[in-house]
Amino acid sequence: MMAFGMPALVFAQDGMLEGTITGADTGEPLPGATVFVSALQSGTSTNIDGEYSLELAAGEYDVRFTYVGFQTQVERVTISAGETTTLDIAMELDLVGLDDVVVTGYGEVPKRNVTGSIASIRGREVNRLDVQSVDQAMQGRLPGVRVTNTSGQPGGGVHVRIRGLGSISGGNAPLYVVDGVPISFTDQSSQVSSNPLAGINPRDIESIEVLKDAAAASIYGAQASNGVVLVTTKTGVEGPTRFTLSSSVGRVGELGRHDMIKGPEWLELQLEAYEWWGQFLFNNPEGGRQFGADSFGFPEATEEGFDFQAEVPHYDYQEELMRTGVNRNLNLSARGGNSSTRFYIAGGYTFEEGTTIRSDFQRLNLRTNVEHDASDFLTLETSINLSTSSSEGALSDGFFLGSPFFAGQFANPITPIFNEDGTFNQVNAFNYNPVDVNVLDDRENSVNQMLLNGGVRLNLIDGLTFRSFYGLDYRNTRDLNYQSPESSAGPPGGSLFQADRQVTNFTTNQVFNYDADVRGSAFRGIAGFEYRHENRWTTSMSGEGFPSGLFRTMQNAAEPTGVTGFGSEYKTAGVFGQAQYDFLDRYLLSVTGRYDGSSRFGADRRWGLFGSGAVAWVLTEEAFMDWSSNWLDDLKVRLSYGTTGNQSGISNFAPRTLFVSGGTYDGQPALRPGGLGNNVLTWEAAETANLGIDWSILQGRVYGVAEIYRRDTDRLLLSRQLPSDSGFGSLTENVGGVRNEGIELELGAVLVNTNNVRWTSDFNITWLRNEVLALADGEDRLGTSIVVGRSLSSYYMYRYAGVNPATGLPMFYDRNGNITYTPRATGDFETDDREFVGTSLPSSLGGWNNRVTVGNFTLDALVQFNFGQTTYDSFQGSFTDGAFFREAGLLESSRERWTEPGQITRVERAYVNSSYPGRTTGFTTSTRFLDDASYIRLKNVQLTYALPISLTQRIGFQGAAVYVQGTNLLTLSNYNGIDPEILGTNNAIYPQPRIITTGIELNF
């Protein structure tokens, strides 16, 4: 813009610089590319034909050429007075650029010299997604990384597992480090599914790096064994200030809904159930039927010719509880800088409604990232992200009468939702109206989050820098749960619960980085110290007795019922170092070590040493590979081995023998022994070996990565049972082991690259498996289904044999394959009728991402998949297995119930409660409800139209685009429930939404 504003006068001592900028691959001009002369802090942009011209005083300049998607180029030019210098630039595509810098722990390494296993995403690939947090954006894009949205609550929790499950009780979530600050996940909302990463606007992300093997992660020591996710936000770039304004609106719809049987038919089925009940208990089917009809309030329903359709109403609870929501986003950023100061300032607003009533998320954030070079050797840097977010949550999810995802179907459909006067009908079968509680009661979470860091970087001598870094992750979470006196939940006068939680997580590190060129070989070294202190604090209070739903603050509570407070802290510290030597860029050798300690560990095992070593061999640098040099760009084999730790499962004071709070008696507070201490309690230890191959051919047209890994974790935290007459139930010890191994493939290609059409495609797939290696001494089993030699996520249950065509009773197989009605769970493998029937860990997962550009149109499509995972559909089970009697809603599968001898079906006959004659258990967990939850999902599609540069430049914009985006558009799966993207058992979870948004983006 600056260039356009300059007067077009040419003075005698000035010269002209002009030229055309084209893409090197196609030769097509690049309109809107930036030309910047940093010495003068001025520049221009190319026009529709890719041409630029710049008037400069005579002299020598470094001119920088930048264009999104292409590698930045800097050229030195000499301008002579009165002359015109022509400089045409052919810009190279910025593909996997081997010279690109990859962010690593406490440093950066050019991609060609990476020795560990690191997967990364560029921010611009995910900036526009309809997600609230950065972890969601990783789904399907990174090999070895499993991302599952565990709740459809906007801004809710996301389950991320890197290379399987390495711990049984110790936590499997990776360490997230945002701009150098490790993020705390403790003390989240107890009311609404939440996510500390939702305070960061995905628009601000520059890159995400996932450190997967020990070579990459061991520099994070005792926190690294579940992998490390490094999130880097955008920083300023030297050049004219560029503004980006984007705005979108969308529609948030349901993925699907369970079809329920409507009132008239429902009553018929319930009466059939009562008929069988009367038959069984009293040998009086008519009496049973009449009893049912009476209790449903339709005594005449047993009469001949009763017209169910006309007489019996239907009330659709799901319809009242679910909705189509909207989402809105507005973001404005400014990015620029001069030779000494660079900044990125961005503000964003996002709002998204969930698919159930009174469920939403809203965030307002401001980010300021500034760097300033105070002198040649001193750089100051700071990054501040302030965010305030709030969310309303569904009253609950799971099998609760207030849960829209259960009660909406479970409610008896012939009971009115509303009275005639429009008030809520309070008498449902369970004296609980799920609509009324969701409308009248509040469940809220609001978070104020401050993520900031600041530091000083000193360039000491050539190649040696020192960085003194300080970071703060502060989060204040306020919870509110209000039960209105008018609603059917809670005590008669209503109740209010409020909690105020604060987490202050301080980090500092002091790091030396050394880069040197030793006779053509690069040497890189890192040495540093890190300290982290996390302090948390919660107070909560509750009260009862509100005059009416108009009064919702604690002041109005007639009766305070409780006040409590809690605080805790932990500290970690470590010294670390890393050295890498790239001999002739051909043989790469790296060694990493960290001596790490944590206050969570027992006094006798407080400090531990973690480390790794890696070697890589760049074959393409070898003379004997010359024959392939015209097509093979890069071929690198790397091998690493190392150790990392996991401390996330140890509570802050777990190893100590403590007197802990023990309730009250007669109003006096009590203290009691909280458990026996274990002064050798320590981290879970993982050993990881990784073999990888990176390759690229035809100038980056086709490239890929293949990796194979094994991670053995031992010293797992497990509890040893103690005889309870000792006064204590168990002691946590470091015993047991788990192995995770897998193969990861990544393949990318520029499939089509013509003048007008360009299609790039990235595919990744991971095969993985998991095996319990050892449990506590002498034990081969923990609980029911954790068994040595099997996957950690195994399902162990009865095998369903269908319904006996003669009697309509459900049948199971016993251990010998014979039919039984009463399978036995003895707890002993020799006699138990249960079998291992599947695992909830997928056997393979991955994604396929495509970008097709045709003229001004760009289509992005991400397909994500998961194979070989089973899920127990507890939801279906709770309806279908003996469900008629609960006088609750019925799924359509009830139509397939057994009704007459000889009928072949999987659904038993109708009855009025779950324990009917001939069966010992009603709700029997069996393979009947075990579903294959493999799926292929069209996760995200974006169609973007970039307005022609000639048009945008005329109205003063660098660029403008409009787009349409769809999320979760299409899913292929045999799964019976709504959403196969599920973790383990379906406990009536909040399903994800299908989102369609349209947006615009302006650059000026």
Partner: protein
């Protein structure tokens, strides 16, 4: 100072910090203290003392189960038609549905901590130390006796020679090694421990007691000893200590006019309570555990008095007021007008919150009556005790001793102590078969059948090779 000297300074600072590595990671818990502090400070011991009482309020003990299960397993209860699934096994006395309560050892361990450390704390006045020890001995005796009632036969009622009591622990578990695998002591050994604990408690509490019937006190210890002697069929001892307990307490027998509201107390213990477990408003067990929720609308209302029990209450019996008809919630079936309910725990402190009497004056009176009736020549004294209670319950006194005086006394106990956790144990200690209410459709449970004793937790039996399971499980 130039910028170039900064890193050297930082490095030096780092070295200083790192040499103090261990203190660098020091943290202190905020709502807990180290065991050393807990066991060596007056505050710690007093808070531990409070914890031993807090344990009694658990739903597994006096918060619910010890109060409910005895009546439901025996012959006083049937299910309410809208039962929520609670107590469905107990009502038919199914195998394995016993009262349980093995977790009580957690309380015993805390008592043992207090007994070990309280005497050593000089900052606690001697008189208070004496009192704390007295109360702890009382609570330990109560805990062991509650365990014995559930898991073992009484000393004179052993069936098939199965004379195992429970595990004895009288020292605190301070290290993992001390959490060893122990065997069950004999019934006699455990009864000896209980007796000795109570005699010690009586000795100490006679020197100092807080005069608060929400806590252990002299009369309560004497009353418990009377109860223990009754179970052990030491009739003389039972009589003696019942008399002492009644003499030494400020509790008294409720008059007929007071009975209907005698359980409706919150600030002070019930008029008859020698020892009562207190629940303040902030200490409510909550709707899922409260006795009020189990026994009355608008809670779950899971259990109602059996017809057989209600039939034992004469029209003139003032205790009818404690078992009223609930006509509000509606009934199942066409002709029913409602269901009877138990009103002994009717949210008298707050919503779902009631105090629970553990030792009561009427129990002592009936204990003495039974103990006297068992002793030759004391029939008229026994009758006098029984008549005193009957007269205060709106019933006629017996002019002449009934043919089955002991039977009458036991029936009076059933009426008087219903829903206070006594019935099952009274039948068990007398070796009686349990005739279940007709509505349950369950045949009589003969004395000595596996149901008579609760099963030990299966997990404990498989964990501890030295632990013998009760017969039939």
């Amino acid at each position: 100072m130039t910028f170039r000297t900064v890193p050297a300074l930082v490095l030096a600072a780092l070295l200083v910090v790192l040499t103090g590595c261990d203190s660098l990671l020091d943290t202190e818990p905020q709502q807990s203290v180290s065991t050393e502090v807990g066991t060596s400070s007056p505050e710690g011991i007093r808070a531990l003392y409070t914890s031993t009482y807090n344990r009694l309020t658990s739903a597994a003990y006096y918060g619910q189960r010890l109060v409910m299960a005895g009546d439901v397993l025996a012959d006083n209860a049937v299910l309410h038609p809208s039962n929520s699934g609670r107590y469905t096994g107990e009502v038919v006395t199914s195998l394995g549905s016993g009262i349980g309560g093995w977790g009580r050892y957690t309380q015993i361990n805390e008592i043992n901590f207090a007994l070990k450390f309280a005497p050593e704390i000089e900052d606690i006045p001697q008189a208070e130390r004496t009192r704390i020890q007295g109360e702890m001995h009382f609570l330990r005796a109560l805990a062991y006796h509650d365990l014995m009632k559930v898991y073992a036969y009484e000393p004179n009622q052993v069936v098939d020679g199965f004379d195992l009591g429970v595990i004895i622990r009288t020292e605190p578990t301070e290290t993992v090694d001390q959490a060893d695998f122990r065997t069950r002591a004999t019934v006699e050994e455990v009864y000896n421990l209980i007796e000795s604990d109570l005699l010690t408690a009586i000795d100490l509490l006679s020197q100092e007691d807080r005069g608060d019937r929400f806590f252990g006190n002299l009369a309560a210890a004497e009353a418990l000893l009377a109860r223990v002697y009754l179970y052990a069929e030491n009739w003389e001892g039972a009589e003696t200590y019942a008399t002492r307990a009644m003499n030494n307490t400020t509790a008294r027998l409720a008059e007929a006019s007071e009975v209907a509201e005698m359980y409706n107390n919150s600030g002070a213990p019930g008029i008859e309570s020698l020892f009562e477990v207190r629940f303040r408003q902030t200490e409510s067990p909550g709707v899922n555990a409260a006795l009020a929720a189990l026994l009355t609308p608008p809670g779950f209302f899971d259990v109602t008095p059996s017809e057989e029990f209600l039939a034992l209450l004469d029209e003139s019996d003032v205790r009818n007021a404690l078992f009223p008809l609930d006509t509000d919630t509606g009934a199942y079936g066409d002709d029913a007008t409602g269901n009877f309910m138990v009103r002994k725990y009717d949210q008298s402190v707050a919503t779902n919150t009631d105090n629970v009497p553990v030792l009561r004056y009427a129990e002592m009176l009936l204990t003495r009556a039974e103990a006297r009736a068992e002793q030759p020549g004391k029939q008229s004294d026994a009758l006098a005790d029984l008549n005193l209670l009957r007269e205060n319950r709106g019933l006629e006194a017996f002019a002449t001793p009934p043919a089955d005086l002991i039977g009458e006394i036991l029936e009076e106990r059933r009426r008087e102590l219903a829903w206070e956790g006594h019935r099952w144990h009274d039948m068990k200690r007398r070796g009686m078969d349990v005739i279940k209410p007709a509505a349950t459709g369950v045949p009589p449970i003969e004395y000595g059948r596996p149901q008579t004793l609760s099963p030990l937790p299966g997990g404990q039996v498989s964990l501890n090779p030295n632990l013998t399971q009760n017969p039939g499980y």
